[in-house]
């Protein structure tokens, strides 16, 4: 098969592209940043409209320039309304602009993205910069229009949840030309007052009800971003809006979706707090009561243990007291008696001359000696007589005198000899001793005869 594809001439192709592009993009809006702006003698404006990744040539003819609200310059974020045109002799395509819009949604969006990127790079959105907001704020300062629905919403919720909180309203325009400036001034002034010690705000709340992106422009202001960044008081953004975020939301320490949402987030629920306090109070009292009960129980036990001992101790104490008392009495009586004797002795001593008494004693001692001597002598004589008589009696009954009359005593054994009183005590052939008045006999038993009486 032969290649049946049509072969264009350059002119044919270019014309075809031109009719396609101009037909397709005859009435469009493009958002971008102006750069490389130049204005030759013709008075027309040539520039490049660009974004991050692409660019397109644009021209704004002199006759269209009278409708401009402000002179375009490099870096401006704009939305261009116009059409695409192809310039055949150079094969260029460019944007022929009818009007420039500085505040259209697209332009704002672009400006927003650009600012966001820059501030992010500068570190204004860093999470570690976020200042904590006290969980139970005492004083909140609202920066808002005092007549708006936002302030009303906030106060209504705040007073329902935690009416004790002090709320101050710092009036500021929240939309229009002056809004950004007034918001900046409010944040800086509240900070100054705080530093001067005239305010003790726990947070600044930038409040605004809902609105279109354009209405919220003040909250995308770069100056305001820096002001929030510099604030030593935590800043809360409470701007109701449909779009995702404002710059203020990103810099703020806390972002609330709406003013009433901010009141809910910032303030505790009074009822919950009351319940919490009541719970703590209850727990504290119960713990303490249990503790005291335990101690009381211990004291009761100790008392019980001690009560057994307590009574004897009491008795002992009483007894000891009693004894001490008795002892004291006795001692006192004794002392008194001693004293009396001493007194008497002293009197006697005074009355009697001790020398006389001594002489008297000496005479009495001599007398006694004489009497003792006499008695002693008589006693000795008496005893001698008694002894002589006793000796006589003794002699009469002595076995020796019996022996003298011819009797003899037979004894046997060695050492301490045994007196023989019966023939049964000896055997024939046994040696015995016979004691006589003037000596003894060594004999041998030759016969043993028992007298019949002994059988």
């Amino acid at each position: 098969m032969l290649n049946q594809q049509k072969i264009f001439s350059v002119s044919e192709l270019t014309r075809s592209i031109k009719s396609m592009l101009e037909g397709r993009f005859s009435f469009i809006s493009v958002a971008g940043e102006i750069s490389g702006l130049r204005r030759p003698a013709s008075g027309h404006m040539y520039f490049t409209l660009k974004d991050d990744q692409a660019q397109i040539k644009a021209v704004l003819f002199k006759m269209q320039q009278r409708y401009l609200s402000q002179q375009p310059k490099d870096g401006d974020m704009v939305v261009c309304l116009g059409r695409v045109s192809v310039y055949e002799p150079r094969g260029d395509y460019q944007l022929i602009i009818d009007s420039l819009d500085y505040h259209g949604e697209g332009a704002l969006q672009l400006a927003f993205e650009q600012l966001k990127k820059r501030l992010d790079a500068e570190g204004l959105f860093d999470q570690e910069l976020k200042k904590p907001i006290p969980p139970l704020p005492e004083h909140l300062v609202l920066v808002t229009s005092p007549s708006g629905a936002a302030v009303h919403d906030f106060i209504r919720i705040a007073q329902k949840r935690y009416p004790q909180v002090r709320i101050s309203v710092y009036p500021a325009a929240v939309q229009g030309e002056q809004a950004a400036k007034e918001l900046c001034l409010a944040v800086s002034e509240i900070n100054l007052e705080q530093k001067a010690g005239r305010l003790a705000a726990d947070a600044i709340i930038l409040c605004r009800g809902g609105g279109s992106a354009e209405d919220l422009q003040a909250f995308n202001n770069e100056e305001l971003a820096w002001e929030i960044y510099r604030s030593t008081i935590p800043v809360v953004s409470a701007v109701g809006h449909e779009i995702d975020f404002t710059i203020a939301d990103l810099v703020a320490d806390l972002r609330a979706p709406t003013p009433s949402g901010a009141a809910e987030m910032l303030l505790p629920d009074g009822q919950a707090l009351r319940e919490h306090v009541a719970d703590l109070s209850h727990r504290m009292q119960r713990t303490m009561q249990e503790r005291l009960n335990r101690h009381q129980e211990r004291i009761r036990l100790y008392r019980q243990k001690l009560s057994g001992a307590a009574q004897p101790v009491d008795t002992l104490l009483l007894r000891m007291d009693h004894m001490t008392e008795n002892m004291e009495h006795a001692m006192q009586a004794k002392l008194a008696a001693c004293q009396a004797r001493l007194d008497r002795a002293e009197n006697r001593l005074k009355r009697n001359n001790p020398l006389l008494v001594l002489n008297l004693y000496q005479q009495r001692i001599k007398e006694m000696q004489r009497r003792l001597h006499r008695i002693g002598t008589r006693l000795i004589n008496d005893k001698e007589q008694e002894l002589i008589q006793a000796a006589g009696i003794l002699e009469a009954v002595s076995p020796l005198s019996t022996l003298a009359r011819g009797y003899a005593v037979a004894r046997k054994g060695t050492g301490r000899r045994k007196v023989i009183t019966s023939p049964a005590q000896v055997q024939i052939g046994e040696a015995i001793e016979v004691l006589l008045h003037q000596g003894w006999l060594e004999c041998e038993v030759t016969q043993v005869e028992l007298s019949s009486d002994d059988l």
Partner: protein
């Protein structure tokens, strides 16, 4: 001494309750803490029952901000 705020009081009360419940304190100390706790409860309750505070409007007068009572009619009808 730091200003006695509701928040401080509540934090302290929380701590005291926990300490008492732990039971590590001596009886004397416990009684002291309990006494303090009771005062804190009283303080918190007073704070919670306090009449609602007035909303005020901060206006610049002679270069300083002055507070004047705020009513919903303070502002205009716009916005």
């Amino acid at each position: 001494m730091a200003k006695r705020t509701f928040e401080n009081a509540l934090t302290k009360l929380d701590r005291i309750t926990a300490e008492l419940e732990q039971g590590d304190l001596g009886l004397d100390n416990s009684l002291k803490k309990f006494d303090e706790g009771v005062q804190l409860v009283q303080f918190c309750n007073e704070k919670l029952e306090e009449a609602r505070s007035q909303v005020e409007l901060l206006l610049k007068k002679n270069d300083t901000l002055t507070a004047t009572p705020f009513t919903e009619k303070s502002g205009g009808m716009s916005d």
